[in-house]
C-alpha cells in the first residue's frame, strides 16, 4: 500500500514538474518573447524541413497504400467494388494520416530532439548558455516549438496529399477494379474542408505533444551518454501513450456524434 502511495506520489511529482516546464516553454512562445531568437527558430524550421519531412511522408505513403488495399478488398467483399473511395476517404483523412504523421514525428523529430538536447545537457552546453546570460528554456525549447509550428501545417497538408495519392495508386492502379473517375467521385463526396481542418487539428496536437515531450526529456537528462539513450527510449513511451490518447479524444470529439457522411437525410 505504501509502495503504491510512493509510486503514485512520484508519478504525480514528475507530471507536475513536466507540466510546469511545458507551461514555461509555451508561455515563452505565446508571449512573443521568443521573437528575439527568431533566427534560431527559423533555423530549427529549416532543419525540420530538410531533415525530417521526407521520412515522415514515407510512412504516410506506406500507410496510405495500406488503406487503399484494405478499402479495395473490403469493398470487393461486400460486392461494391466502386465503393472503395468511400472507405479510403474516411480511412485516410480522418484516421490513418494523423496517426502515421504522429508516429513518424515521434520517431524522427521527438527522439531527435531528446538526443540533441540531452547531449547538450551532459556536455554542460546548457549551463554555458545560462552563464552567457541567455534564457536556455526559451533559446532551446521555445525556438524548437515555434519552428515546428511555423512549418507543420504545410508539411501536414503535403502529407494529406501524399496519403491520398498512395491510396489512389493502390486502388486504381494496382488493384484496378474501379475506374479513376468512379473512385474519385465517391472519394471527394466523402470528405469536406471541415474534415480536413479536424484532421489537421488532430495532427497538430500530436506533433506539438511530441515536440514538447522531446524538449522536456532532453532538457533534464542526467547520467552521461547512457542517460541520453535512456531518456530517448523513455520519451517514445510517453509519445505513444499521448498520440493515441489525442487520437481517441479527437475522433470522439469531431466525429463521435455526427458521422459527417453524405448518406441519408
Amino acid at each position: 500500500m505504501r509502495a503504491v502511495g510512493t509510486w503514485g506520489g512520484e508519478w504525480l511529482d514528475s507530471f507536475g514538474h513536466a507540466a510546469k516546464f511545458i507551461g514555461r516553454v509555451m508561455w515563452g512562445v505565446y508571449s512573443g518573447r521568443v521573437g528575439k531568437y527568431f533566427g534560431e527558430a527559423l533555423r530549427q524550421a529549416a532543419i525540420l524541413i530538410t531533415g525530417s519531412t521526407l521520412i515522415v511522408l514515407g510512412l504516410v505513403f506506406i500507410l496510405g497504400l495500406e488503406c487503399g488495399i484494405e478499402g479495395g478488398y473490403g469493398a470487393k467483399a461486400v460486392g461494391a467494388t466502386s465503393a472503395a473511395g468511400a472507405f479510403t476517404a474516411l480511412c485516410d483523412l480522418r484516421e490513418v494520416i494523423p496517426y502515421a504523421f504522429g508516429y513518424m514525428m515521434a520517431a524522427k523529430v521527438g527522439t531527435g530532439i531528446v538526443a540533441e538536447l540531452g547531449s547538450m545537457r551532459i556536455s554542460d552546453e546548457i549551463d554555458a548558455l545560462e552563464v552567457m546570460g541567455l534564457d536556455s528554456v526559451l533559446y532551446l525549447g521555445g525556438t524548437r516549438l515555434l519552428g515546428t509550428w511555423l512549418v507543420l501545417p504545410f508539411i501536414y497538408a503535403i502529407a494529406v496529399v501524399v496519403g491520398i495519392f498512395a491510396s489512389y495508386i493502390a486502388v486504381v492502379v494496382q488493384l484496378g477494379q474501379v475506374s479513376a473517375g468512379g473512385y474519385l467521385q465517391l472519394f471527394w463526396m466523402f470528405q469536406t474542408p471541415l474534415d480536413f481542418l479536424f484532421s489537421a487539428i488532430k495532427g497538430m496536437c500530436m506533433s506539438t505533444f511530441v515536440v514538447l515531450v522531446g524538449i522536456y526529456q532532453g532538457y533534464f537528462v542526467t547520467g552521461g551518454p547512457v542517460g541520453v539513450g535512456r531518456a530517448t527510449a523513455k520519451s517514445m513511451v510517453a509519445n505513444i501513450i499521448g498520440i493515441h490518447a489525442i487520437g481517441l479524444v479527437g475522433t470522439q470529439l469531431f466525429w463521435g456524434t455526427n458521422p459527417r457522411t453524405p448518406i441519408g437525410g
Partner: protein, 273 residues
C-alpha cells in the same frame, strides 16, 4: 576548386552514403543469420536472460499497449465505421467488420508500433550503453559470444512477446468495439454473432505470423543499432533515434507486402459471411 571536381566530389559523397545504407542493410541480414544459427545450435545457455527479457518487455509495454489498442480500434474501426453503418441501420455488421479489420490490420500494426516504440528503444538504449561502457568487448575477452548471450534472447523474447501482445491487442480492440456498440445503445448479441461468423482461423494465423515477423525485425534493427552505437555524448541517443525510425518504416513495408500477398493468395478471406 573547379566546378567539375566539385561535382565529382559530390558524386563520391553521395555514393559513399548509398554504400553505407546498403552496407547497413547487409550487416543487418548477416546479424539475422548469425542470430538464427546461434539460437538453434547448442548449448542453449540463454534461458535465464530470455526469461528476464520477456518479463522486462511485458512490464514496459503492457500499459501503452492497452491505451494504444483501445484508442486505435475505438476511433478508426469503431466510431468511423459505426457512424457509417448506423446510417444504413446495419450496426450489427460492425462485429464482422471488426473481425476483419482489427485482426488483419489494426491489432498487428498497433502491436508492432508499441513494441518498437517501447521495448525496441529500451533494448537499443541498453545495448548502446553496454557498448560505450566496453562491456561487450569485456564479454568477448572472457570468451562469451555477445550474439548468443545478448542478441538471441532479445530476438526470441521479442518474437514471442509481439505475437502474444497481438492477442492482447485483439482483446482490447474487441472491447473497444463493444464500447462503441453500447454507446449507440445497440445490443451486443448481433455484434458477437457477426464477429464469430466472420472470424477465420486463416486470418488469425496470418495475424500471429505477421506480428512474429514484426517482432523479429524490430529485435534485429534495435540490436544492430544498439551494438553499433558510437561513442560521445550523442551516440546512444542518436542510435535509438535511428533504430526507431528504421523500425517504423520497416513495419510499414512488411505490413504492405504481407497484407497484399495474403489477400491476393487467399480470396476466401474477402467474402462476407
Amino acid at each position: 576548386m573547379s566546378i567539375a571536381t566539385a561535382a565529382a566530389s559530390r558524386v563520391r559523397v553521395e555514393s559513399q552514403r548509398a554504400n553505407s545504407l546498403i552496407g547497413q542493410v547487409g550487416e543487418m541480414v548477416v546479424l539475422t543469420r548469425r542470430t538464427v544459427v546461434s539460437a538453434l545450435r547448442p548449448p542453449y545457455s540463454y534461458g535465464p536472460e530470455l526469461t528476464s527479457q520477456f518479463l522486462f518487455g511485458m512490464r514496459v509495454a503492457w500499459f501503452p499497449m492497452l491505451i494504444a489498442s483501445l484508442a486505435f480500434t475505438y476511433g478508426p474501426a469503431g466510431i468511423q465505421a459505426a457512424g457509417f453503418l448506423d446510417l444504413f441501420g446495419a450496426l450489427d455488421r460492425l462485429g464482422g467488420l471488426f473481425a476483419l479489420t482489427v485482426m488483419r490490420e489494426f491489432a498487428p500494426l498497433v502491436c508492432a508500433i508499441v513494441m518498437a516504440g517501447c521495448v525496441g528503444t529500451a533494448i537499443c538504449a541498453d545495448l548502446g550503453a553496454r557498448v560505450i561502457r566496453e562491456e561487450i568487448d569485456a564479454l568477448q575477452v572472457l570468451g562469451i559470444d555477445p550474439i548468443k548471450s545478448l542478441v538471441v534472447p532479445r530476438f526470441l523474447s521479442l518474437m514471442v512477446l509481439t505475437g502474444l501482445f497481438d492477442i492482447y491487442a485483439l482483446l482490447c480492440g474487441t472491447f473497444g468495439g463493444m464500447l462503441v456498440t453500447l454507446s449507440h445503445s445497440a445490443p451486443l448479441g448481433p455484434f458477437f454473432a457477426t464477429f464469430f461468423s466472420n472470424a477465420t482461423v486463416t486470418e488469425f494465423g496470418a495475424s500471429l505470423l505477421k506480428t512474429t515477423l514484426f517482432g523479429a525485425m524490430i529485435a534485429i534493427v534495435c540490436c544492430y543499432k544498439g551494438l553499433n552505437a558510437k561513442g560521445g555524448a550523442e551516440g546512444v541517443g542518436r542510435a535509438v533515434n535511428q533504430a526507431v525510425v528504421v523500425a517504423f518504416l520497416m513495419i510499414g513495408a512488411i505490413d504492405y507486402v504481407f497484407t497484399q500477398a495474403l489477400l491476393a493468395t487467399h480470396p476466401e478471406l474477402s467474402s462476407v459471411r
